[in-house]
């Protein structure tokens, strides 16, 4: 039961509450309007008034290191020196050491003129004063309202600090992420380089960009006087640095090989030369040297054709270095042994009309399979090859990499040719037994010998060890699985014959390293003249081998393009011997302590 008297005060309460509620609702509505509906508009307003600032946080591009962790590429900052020509032309007031404006006796401000300032700047940037003055004068002449002109790009931190210390108010500096390559041209052919805008242009810099590339972040904050961040307003999204890319290259070995191949290429007057060192057990490439390698610190100093890797972009007919593949095929598919004999004249006309010549004239002799390799006889290998049908030989060549990709995924990989066996003409049926009519890359030749040295199991060639992301996650690149190409027994027999090539061949004395058993083969491949024939008296020469032969650790391949002092593969002997000696010394591989068992050459 309520009376009027009791209702009246309650109504007042209700009314008061209602008023409070209405005000509250109005506030909430306005709050939502500010915070949600028109939020972006207000944020923009705040930005335009300079109250809030967003700074992009740049992550650093990842480093590239060699197999031992030595840095081959690191990130750093360089600075573009920027001037305001409009202000520069007006000069600036002279200030004393305390920063106070200097006045002359008449009470006028003493001015420093632009030419004087230009001279100061030029002293630091190592330009001439006139040069600096001209840059700004030109910009000013073109547009007197010009507020932006770059004086010099990519100056060092030291120069930047010196310029900043000059206290010139219209000079500003733009940081530019830049790359430094501490070892210069060492592995420059593989590392590649980045452009002045930081864009990766060549080599693993480009191929492995997804590993090296940083993710930029941002920081948003409100600023008080003097740019002090107002506490509690900063919202940071941190930048993520790029990953560290580890190569399989050993930089010390790589340097030696580059120095060596440069000297030897010069000595034999070849167009260019290369050395490749591959680890037998893993297929990892420890050195890949060639002439001339770019210095990634200064790619502009190299000719454009020297800025990439020739060795990875050249395919060639291997020639005699692929004769052991024929030997392995004959052993597995025709029941041949190293002692099986054929009669070998220096020129042979086969039943289908194909003609095969040996490189040197000799009397007809009975050669074993071992002898065919030791004397590198085309006629002998043609006969052993012909014991197996072309399709089977095609399959073997393919398994050894001919016509296939080398697995490195390099940019600009060359075309590799291996035509189907049913399209082989009469001459091709024999030419394929001594490394002609198909092409391979240097990596594939090394990989074939790695297969012989590794008991018939091919390990995929690789240049990249791993990528370690900023958060510590280690990513290993995907590579093909190891593949058994030939039987272990066959690999042993071929290896033994290759040892005999080094022990009994004409090159024996020139390549021998006392105490070590080595195995290998030379190749003097003809070069296509581009008109369907071969170049006369110019060859692509190679010498590939592994050591120590009884327990192979490393494959070394050396190549020359058109050596002119000695035109055949004999040009490769000294470079091979020095390269192999360095590999054995560098990796502390002990001498063999046994002799090569000699196999009969003639029947």
């Amino acid at each position: 039961m309520t009376t009027r008297a009791t209702r009246s005060p309650r109504r007042r309460t209700v009314v008061a509450l209602a008023v409070v509620l209405v005000v509250l609702v109005a506030f909430v509505a306005r709050l939502i309007d500010i915070q949600v509906v028109n939020a972006s508009q207000h944020v923009e307003d705040a930005f335009s008034k300079g109250m809030q600032k967003t700074t992009t946080l740049e992550g650093a591009r990842g480093a590239i290191v060699d197999a031992n962790g030595n840095p081959l590429a690191t990130s750093m900052l360089r600075y573009n020196v920027v001037i305001d020509p409009h202000l520069a032309e007006q000069g600036m007031s002279l200030r004393d050491d305390t920063g106070a404006i200097v006045k002359d006796d008449a009470g006028d401000t003493v001015m420093v003129t632009w030419p004087e300032i230009a001279a100061e700047i030029a002293k630091v940037t190592e330009q001439s004063a006139d040069e600096v003055r001209a840059i700004v004068d030109d910009a000013y002449a073109k547009n007197s309202g010009s507020r932006y002109q770059v004086i010099k790009r990519l100056v060092s931190t030291a120069e930047f600090r010196e310029l900043d210390d000059l206290g010139i108010p219209f000079l500003s500096f733009e940081p530019v992420a830049s790359r430094s390559y501490p070892d210069g041209a060492v592995a420059g052919n593989i590392i590649g380089f980045v452009g002045s805008d930081g864009e990766p242009l060549e080599g693993v810099e480009k191929l492995q960009d997804s590993c090296l590339e940083p993710t930029s972040g941002s920081i948003k904050y409100q600023r008080g006087a003097n740019g002090v961040t107002i506490p509690g307003t900063a919202v940071e999204k941190p930048a993520v640095d790029g990953g560290t890319l580890k190569l399989t290259i050993d930089s010390d070995l790589q340097w030696y090989m580059q120095q060596l191949i440069a000297e030897e290429t010069d000595r034999y007057q070849a167009n260019w030369g290369g050395i490749l060192v591959m680890e037998v057990a893993t297929g990892k490439i420890r050195a890949i040297a060639e002439t001339d390698s770019v210095d990634p610190n200064d790619p502009g100093a190299s000719k454009s054709e020297d800025r990439g890797s020739r060795l990875l972009r050249t395919s060639f007919e291997p020639g005699s270095t692929f004769k052991p593949v024929t030997a392995a095929t004959a052993i597995e598919q025709a029941g041949v042994t190293p002692g099986t004999t054929v009669t070998v004249p220096d020129r042979m006309v086969f039943k289908n009309g194909a003609v095969v010549n040996d490189s040197e004239k000799h009397a007809t002799q009975d050669l074993t399979l071992n002898g065919g390799l030791v004397t590198s006889s085309n006629v002998a290998m043609s006969q052993f090859g012909a014991m197996v049908d072309p399709q089977t030989r095609y399959d073997y060549l393919k398994k050894f990499g001919a016509g296939e990709a080398d697995g490195l995924g390099w940019s600009g990989e060359p075309e590799r040719i291996l035509r189907p066996a049913d399209t082989w003409d009469n001459q091709t049926k024999y030419a394929t037994t001594f490394g002609q009519a198909f092409t391979v890359t240097a990596v594939q030749v090394a990989n074939a010998y790695q297969t012989f040295a590794n008991g018939g199991v091919r390990m995929p060639a690789s240049l990249v060890e791993s990528c370690t992301k900023a958060d510590g996650e280690v990513i290993h690149p995907k590579v093909a699985a190891p593949e058994r190409v030939i039987k272990e027994e066959t690999a042993k027999e071929v290896s033994l014959m290759l040892e005999n090539v080094f022990a009994q061949g004409t090159l024996a004395d020139d390549v021998a390293l006392p105490g070590y058993r080595m195995a290998g083969k030379t190749g003097t491949a003809q070069i296509s003249d581009g008109r369907g024939g071969y170049k006369k008296n110019l060859y692509f020469t190679s010498l590939v081998g592994f050591a120590p032969a009884e327990d192979p650790k490393y494959v070394v391949l050396t190549v020359f393009d058109e050596p002119k002092k000695q035109r055949m593969s004999s040009a490769n002997r000294s470079v091979f011997k020095k390269a192999m000696a360095q590999v054995l010394t560098h990796y502390r591989i002990m001498p063999s302590g046994s002799e090569t068992p000699l196999l009969p050459v003639t029947g």
Binding site: A5, T6, P9, T13, M76, L77, S156, T157, A158, F160, R161, S180, Y181, P182, D183, G184, A185, V186, G224, N226, G227, V228, T229, I230, P231, G232, S251, D252, W255, Y256, Q258, Q259, L260, A262, E263, D266, T291, S293, D295, N297, D298, A301, L513, P514, G515, K578, A581, Q582, L584, T585, M590, P591, G593
Partner: protein, 202 residues
């Protein structure tokens, strides 16, 4: 705050009842007799409570102001430290630039070559079990397997023109060769076919 406001309203209602009661006592409901008890004298608010409330408010304001001053002060401190860190970073970058390339293999090798060191060729080993020498069994030749200084072929723009530590006259580019005459006078190390040379004194 709201609790005391409600209490005030209740007291007001009670005093209204008292006034009504005096005007029409016959209508006064029996069941509401208890309400008349409220007609007590108003309790005087204790001064202590007021003091506590005011002091509390002041204290909160004071602490807040203090905290604000401290954080603002820290902001300046942070700014100073950030500036310091930037300067130190600049110094670090400058120093890194200065030493970049000095540890590169071609620079080290050129320095070694300037000292007259040569890169060895075929390695020799002594087998500890029987003292046999494995390898060429002759002394190392004075010829270097590569010419790291006089024919330096692996460039490095970072140390281009930087004088060698061991021969300030030379750099990787100039490739000043070592004094050949000096080398020619150096006797070749003795052969070690008969074991390592031992001094004649006993």
């Amino acid at each position: 705050m709201s609790a005391s406001a409600l209490a005030t309203t209740a007291t007001d209602t009670a005093s209204d009842e008292v006034l009504l009661g005096s005007a029409a006592p016959a209508l006064r409901p029996v069941g509401r007799a208890g309400w008349s008890v409220a007609a007590q004298p108003r309790r005087r608010p204790r001064r202590a409570f007021g003091i506590i409330a005011v002091a509390g408010a002041l204290a909160i304001a004071g602490v807040q102001m203090g905290l604000s001053i401290v954080t603002t002060q820290d902001a300046f401190e942070v700014k100073n430290l950030t500036a310091q860190q930037r300067d130190v970073n600049y110094q670090k970058n400058i120093l890194e630039d200065e030493v970049a390339g000095l540890s590169s293999p071609q620079f080290l090798a050129a320095n070694a070559a300037a000292l007259g060191l040569v890169a060895g060729g075929e390695p020799s080993y002594i087998r500890l079990s029987d003292g046999a020498t494995l390898g060429p069994k002759t002394g190392a030749s004075e010829a270097s397997s590569i010419e790291a200084l006089s024919r330096a072929a692996v460039s490095n723009a970072l140390v281009a023109g930087v004088p060698l530590v061991t021969d300030p006259e030379a750099s990787l580019d100039t490739g000043v060769s070592i004094d050949k005459k000096l080398l020619a006078d150096t006797p070749t190390p003795p052969s070690i076919t008969d074991g390592l040379p031992t001094p004649a004194t006993h």
